[in-house]
């Protein structure tokens, strides 16, 4: 019942999208086996067993997709991953905001970094009200500061806001 209605957003059986995870898996298994090849048997036994089983399973899936494509029941395309285009651009923008947050965390510090990231993420997702943007972002940043910096004293990078708050508290 429910699975039938899943169809519109899932890759059609045997489509190219189905092969992305196996491709990643096969590349990773090959890399893993390459790194353990010259090691003692104790160090590579697990990787050999798991990696080879994974490669066999991937081969079975590739064969299944190949047969489906040959029979005309499936086609090789990445529609499930790249369409519709607009939400994919939003996702890429969100990922860029996350990466920018992580990369600038050292210089901006935790609180300012979280504040700016929250503002950016909400802007990307369509929030336009300045009050909501600043209010939610400031609330999250200050909650994080309270929990992670003040109470748990974690080693998050300290920036200008932390230095200012440290003088006050």
């Amino acid at each position: 019942m429910s699975e039938a209605t899943d169809a519109p957003r899932r890759a059609p059986a045997g489509s190219g999208g189905d092969l992305v995870i196996p491709a990643v898996g096969a590349a990773f298994a090959a890399y893993y086996l390459w790194t353990v090849w010259d090691l003692s048997w104790e160090a590579k036994a697990d990787g050999l067993v798991v990696g080879l089983v994974l490669l066999v399973l991937i081969a079975l899936l590739v064969a299944r997709v190949g047969l489906a494509v040959a029979a005309g029941r499936a086609r090789l395309g990445l529609d499930a991953l790249v369409r519709p285009v607009r939400p994919q651009l939003t996702r890429l923008a969100l990922l860029a905001a996350i990466l920018a947050f992580i990369l600038t965390l050292g210089s901006l510090g935790f609180t300012l970094g979280v504040f700016l990231f929250m503002c950016a993420a909400m802007l990307i997702l369509g929030v336009r009200s300045p009050g909501a943007l600043v209010g939610v972002a400031a609330g999250v940043a200050l909650s994080g500061w309270l929990l992670f910096i003040l109470f748990l004293d974690t080693r998050f990078p300290r920036g200008p806001i932390e230095q200012l708050l440290a003088r006050l508290f």
């Binding site: 957003r9 890759a11 995870i21 990643v24």
Partner: protein
């Protein structure tokens, strides 16, 4: 000789009840810690070591036991509300719990989860007190050979349950196992597949993997929707009053037997050192579906699909402490931290503990009973308010999830690298969701990976590298047969369905595809 005395147990119960002022804060802390991905009982107990080491041993034990139980309950809350399990043990709860939330039944799902957790934990704790001498023997029968098969069996069950497509489920599970094998090996400490990162020498950290696979990928999925709920669901949650809590309570109590037996599944698996709540929850879910008269409803927001994993993951709590108290072997990482605290206080664990300090040996389980009783009164009234999280528009909810969880990825090891790792897993999880590879199977593989290697290498070293040792034990061979059957059965059902002999949809596994999709489909099926 292990044995028990009713008078002693009565006295212990009253003593534990008298420590309510320690238990209640521990419960509240445990629920919060369990609900926040990145924190769990183990790392919180490590943070709180200065506190527990300075306490009297009995109070420290009561505090740790209560918090441990509460974290297992707390893990189900975000699993139901936003499809992000707070702990690995709540991963199976997402399947039906989130589907219920997407139908506007979050309050009911939370109540089901709370009652199942509390009753499952309570009953199994009582059972442990009564049957402790016999339960302790179970851990002796499972050695490295059997544990290798148990791990593979668990992974196979998850692949069968979580993914619609068995082959994709197995690929996801084995990919997870291989990711779990990254890091230095256990004998010579040689780095393997670390991509040159020192941060991966200890293996792939679980918290960034969990956060990436579940939280980041879920937030990326939400982008296309304005709200988690459809109009009917929104209306239902807005109008939801105490009646939904009462209804959830009624449904749970109606299924008391279901709670009991799935709790015992958790207990049995919890006793096996290393198996843990993740496997227990999935095995209970699979068993629940197998014996259900309506297996086709699992994955669409079925109450039994919430009850089974939640009862089982709380059944595990008392189970993991059985080998610790009875033979001095911790059943899991949290039990290991508890062992450190007990040893610091000079407590010698093992059979002698029951003779020399029965108030401690049995006291821990009695305090769990008391904690569970107090827990239900603490948590149940909150379900109504927690359910309102599902009303938050996704343009706020997705950034909130991202903000809190990416920061949470930093917390356990305090490496900025782990935040980047969470993003990598987020992208992997997103691709997996879109193409029908279940993220849960990947996560459980990552959790089991290091354990699987430990047991595999131990078995192979005993046999000096001869793989035939894996088929040398009677219990192990029975488990191999069960594993083969669990692989063959879905294929057989599928063939039967194709030939039109089986019940429509009966063998259809839930959970594949995006969770958003599951919710939508559940919404439609309800309509």
């Amino acid at each position: 000789m292990l044995g028990w005395d009713p008078a002693l147990l009565g006295e212990l119960f009253l003593r534990s009840l008298g420590l309510w002022w320690i238990i209640l804060p521990a419960i509240l802390l445990g629920i919060v810690v369990g609900a926040v991905p990145g924190f769990n009982a183990q790392n919180t107990l490590v943070i709180l070591l200065p506190l527990t080491l300075s306490m009297d041993v009995e109070r420290a034990l009561v505090f740790m036991a209560a918090m441990y139980c509460a974290t297992h309950l707390g893990g189900g809350i975000p699993a139901i509300l936003v499809n992000i399990p707070g702990t690995g043990g709540a991963a199976a709860t997402t399947i039906d719990g989130y589907a219920m939330a997407r139908k506007g039944q979050a309050q009911q799902a939370l109540v089901l989860s709370f009652v199942a957790s509390v009753l499952g934990g309570l009953i199994t704790s009582v059972a442990v007190v009564v049957f402790l001498p016999y339960l302790a023997l179970m851990a002796f029968y499972l050695r490295s050979v059997e544990m290798v098969v148990v791990m593979l069996f668990g992974l196979t069950l998850i692949a069968v349950i979580a993914a619609k497509d068995l082959l994709k489920g197995l690929i996801a599970g084995f990919l997870g196992l291989l990711i779990g094998a990254v890091g230095t090996d256990h004998i010579y400490s040689t780095p393997r597949a670390t991509f040159g990162f020192l941060e991966l020498y200890d293996g792939v950290p679980l918290v960034p993997a969990l956060i990436g696979l579940f939280a980041i990928s879920e937030a990326l999925e939400m982008v296309e929707e304005e709200a988690l709920l459809g109009d009917a669901g929104l209306q239902r949650v807005r109008q939801g009053g105490w009646a939904d809590t009462v209804e959830g309570l009624r449904i749970s109590l109606q299924r008391w037997w279901h709670i009991v037996w799935t709790g015992f599944v958790g207990l049995a698996i919890g006793i096996i050192p290393g198996a843990g709540a993740s496997i227990a929850a999935f095995v209970a879910y699979q068993q629940s579906r197998m014996y259900s008269k309506t297996p086709q409803l699992y994955g669409t927001g079925h109450p039994d699909g919430v009850i089974a994993p939640e009862s089982a993951n709380n059944g595990v709590t008392s189970g993991t402490l059985v080998p610790l108290m009875a033979i001095g072997v911790p059943g899991g990482s949290t039990a290991a931290v508890m062992m450190i605290v007990l040893q610091y206080h000079g407590v010698v664990l093992g059979p002698r503990l029951f003779i020399e300090s029965p108030h401690l040996a049995y006291g821990v389980f009695v305090s769990m009973v008391v904690a569970y009783i107090l827990m239900i009164f603490t948590i149940l009234p909150l379900a109504r308010y927690m359910a309102r999280v599902t009303l938050i528009p996704t343009q706020y909810l997705a950034p909130l999830i991202l903000g809190f969880t990416i920061v949470g990825a930093f917390a356990p090891r305090e490496y900025v690298f782990d935040m980047g790792l969470a993003v990598v897993f987020g992208v992997l999880g997103y691709i997996a969701r879109r193409t029908g590879y279940h993220v849960t199977a990947i996560l459980i593989g990552i959790i089991l990976g290091p354990l699987f290697e430990v047991y595999l290498i131990r078995a192979l070293r005993i046999s000096q590298g001869d793989p035939r040792i894996l088929f040398s034990s009677a219990i192990g061979n029975v488990l191999w047969v069960l594993l083969a059957l669990s692989l063959a059965l879905p294929l057989w059902r599928e063939r039967r369905q194709r030939s039109g002999k089986g019940p429509a949809g009966a063998a259809e596994a839930p959970g594949a595809g995006s969770p958003a999709q599951r919710g939508k489909s559940a919404e439609r099926s309800r309509g």
